[in-house]
């Protein structure tokens, strides 16, 4: 664990640069900006259901997902491109430590701006039940960041040379399209779980019988909340174990192609 902590601290120290802090600020400011624009350009305050959907789309969905995509995906590929990977892998369990240390650094880097943005955006929305919305979104952020981080880290380990392309393709196809397909396959996405928890924890109701018409049920299922939470909690360790196994099996030589 000591070398994982070393990677974590080293990555955090490296992240304290002006360009990265600006990105951090952008992540926090983006939902605030959008909520502010909506709030001050509409005559009537939108209903609670609207804000729940909007804050969900902006924070656990967009900011968490984008933040983790940018931070976790290139964990290995950045080291390979920089040719620094070799220095790390000739250390005892160096590759594993780098993978886990960078994962923790990415998760702890993305969660704070997301929560800061949420904490400003909720009062700005001036909705009834603001505290409940904040508490729901905060829990969703704390579940989505580790889950997305693990998915992107695994994709980056699987195909480091094309990591970002693969991660963007996964996000567009699975998390944004397949997640909205009213079929069993959408249960494989993180969005399905987060969406179901949003509806459950915010106690959202929809027009139709019982407030949960069949069209909505196909998108959120009727599993209890604890199942979604357990799935999202178990996903990161399982995916990280697979990523470590792939890493130990893979050969990442950093020799120049001409220098065999």
């Amino acid at each position: 664990m000591g070398n994982v902590a070393a990677v974590f601290l080293f990555e955090w120290k490296r992240a304290l640069t002006l360009p990265r802090m600006m990105w951090w600020g952008v992540l926090a400011a983006f939902p605030v900006f959008i909520v502010g624009v909506i709030r001050f350009t509409t005559y009537q305050i939108p209903p609670r259901e609207f804000w729940a959907g909007m804050l969900y789309a902006l924070i656990p969905m967009l900011v968490s997902m984008l933040g983790m995509l940018l931070w976790a995906t290139p964990a290995i590929s950045a080291e390979l491109e920089r040719r620094s990977w070799v220095y790390l892998t000739v250390r005892p369990n160096g590759g594993t430590a780098v993978l886990l240390g960078k994962y923790l650094a990415a998760v702890t880097w993305v969660i704070p701006p997301t929560l800061i943005g949420l904490s400003i955006a909720v009062p700005l929305a001036d909705t009834s039940d603001g505290w409940r919305l904040w508490w729901t979104m905060a829990r969703l952020v704390c579940l989505s960041c580790p889950a997305y981080g693990a998915v992107y880290l695994l994709l980056g380990t699987l195909l480091p040379r094309r990591a970002l392309v693969l991660a963007v393709a996964y996000t567009l196809i699975f998390e944004l399209i397949v997640a909205l397909v009213p079929a069993v396959i959408n249960k494989l996405t993180i969005q399905y779980r987060l969406r179901a928890l949003l509806v459950e924890w915010c106690d959202l109701s929809f027009p139709g019988p019982g407030g949960r018409p069949s069209g909505v049920l196909a998108l959120i299922g009727d599993d209890p909340a604890w199942q979604h939470v357990m799935t999202l909690l178990l996903l990161p360790p399982v995916l990280l174990l697979i990523a470590v196994a792939i890493l130990r099996w893979s050969e990442f030589s950093t020799s120049a192609e001409s220098d065999v």
């Binding site: 490296r14 640069t17 920089r82 220095y87 250390r91 005892p92 050969e251 990442f252 020799s255």
Partner: protein, 308 residues
């Protein structure tokens, strides 16, 4: 210390290392080969970054692949740069020592000592982006030395160093070898290896072509076809003499310098004084026409394939 048995490494259809068998005991060895000869692939196999397609690799009696115990005893300085531009040498070396398993305090001490050893104390808190090539090489060497490994593996460590830097690092490495530690040092320059060790491994085309001492290498160069340049008072008469004595396959004269392609340089060197004395000709200068080792490697490759 290092044992490779029939090791072959393929990159798709490209051969990186070809049926390599080698046993090295403790000591210092120079791995000599031209660029693209397979040195880096061999070192990647030895440091466990690559798996052999065929054969087995053992370092200190163990497989190096994902071997945490072995990595505690191994120091590696690759040829590629791979440093973090915005980080100081001290932070980087300390970080790598923590990955090596040291506590934060031990890592600080080890990093300071290693950077002092390679002459980087003054600049160690500056960002690496402000370093010269030589300073980056020193930093790379420091990270390999800092945890006091039993076996040190260096891939072209003198690249980019000025003569003073080379001399200083040669002194450091000699001291290292003097402590009874083991070293495997890859380079494409004979004199770099010669300054550190007398034990050579010659590699080309992914094959081990020869091994031995520096004298053996020079003897090989004498015994294999080579070009010799001679400056004489009468180069035309000297060319005729060498052709008459069957000491040259071909000759050419450019700006008074006679270049002779000889199948047996050894015989030429041995008998030339007698021929000069008998003919009354004088030679004021004589050297190998091609001072790089490429000719030797080409000849050894032909010898290996049975073409010579």
């Amino acid at each position: 210390m290092i044992e490779l048995r029939n090791v072959t490494k393929l990159y798709g259809k490209v051969i990186g290392v070809n049926d390599f068998t080698l046993t090295l005991g403790p000591g210092a060895y120079g791995l000599l080969g031209p660029n693209g000869s397979g040195k880096s692939t061999l070192l990647n196999l030895i440091t466990g970054q690559l798996r052999p397609t065929l054969g087995t690799v053992r370092v200190l009696g163990e497989s190096p692949r994902n071997n945490a115990g072995l990595f505690r005893r191994l120091g590696y300085c690759p040829s590629s740069e791979g440093l973090y531009a915005g980080v100081s040498a001290f932070d980087w070396v300390r970080y790598l020592q923590q990955l090596q398993g040291m506590t934060a305090q031990e890592a600080v001490k080890a990093a300071e000592q290693a950077l002092e050893l390679v002459g980087m104390t003054q600049a160690m808190h500056r960002p690496i982006s402000s370093y010269s090539r030589g300073m980056r090489q020193r930093t790379k060497l420091a990270q390999a030395l800092a945890h006091d490994p039993d076996v040190l593996i260096l891939d072209e460590p003198f690249n980019g160093l000025d003569p003073v830097g080379r001399h200083e690092l040669t002194t450091v490495l000699r001291k290292w070898i003097g402590q009874g530690k083991s070293l495997l040092f890859a380079s494409h320059l004979l004199h770099e290896i010669e300054s550190l060790t007398q034990s050579f491994l010659l590699i080309c085309g992914g094959r081990l072509l020869a091994s031995g001492t520096a004298q053996d290498v020079h003897a090989m160069m004498v015994g294999l076809p080579n070009e010799v340049a001679l400056r004489s008072s009468d180069p035309h008469a000297l060319a005729a003499l060498l052709l008459r004595e069957h000491a040259a396959d071909s000759v050419r004269i450019e700006e008074g310098l006679l270049t002779v392609a000889t199948p047996q340089p050894g015989r030429l060197f041995e008998q030339l004084p007698g021929w000069l004395k008998a003919s009354g000709l004088e030679v004021s200068e004589m050297h190998s026409a091609d001072e790089s080792l490429q000719e030797l490697f080409n000849s050894l490759m032909k010898l290996h394939r049975g073409e010579l």
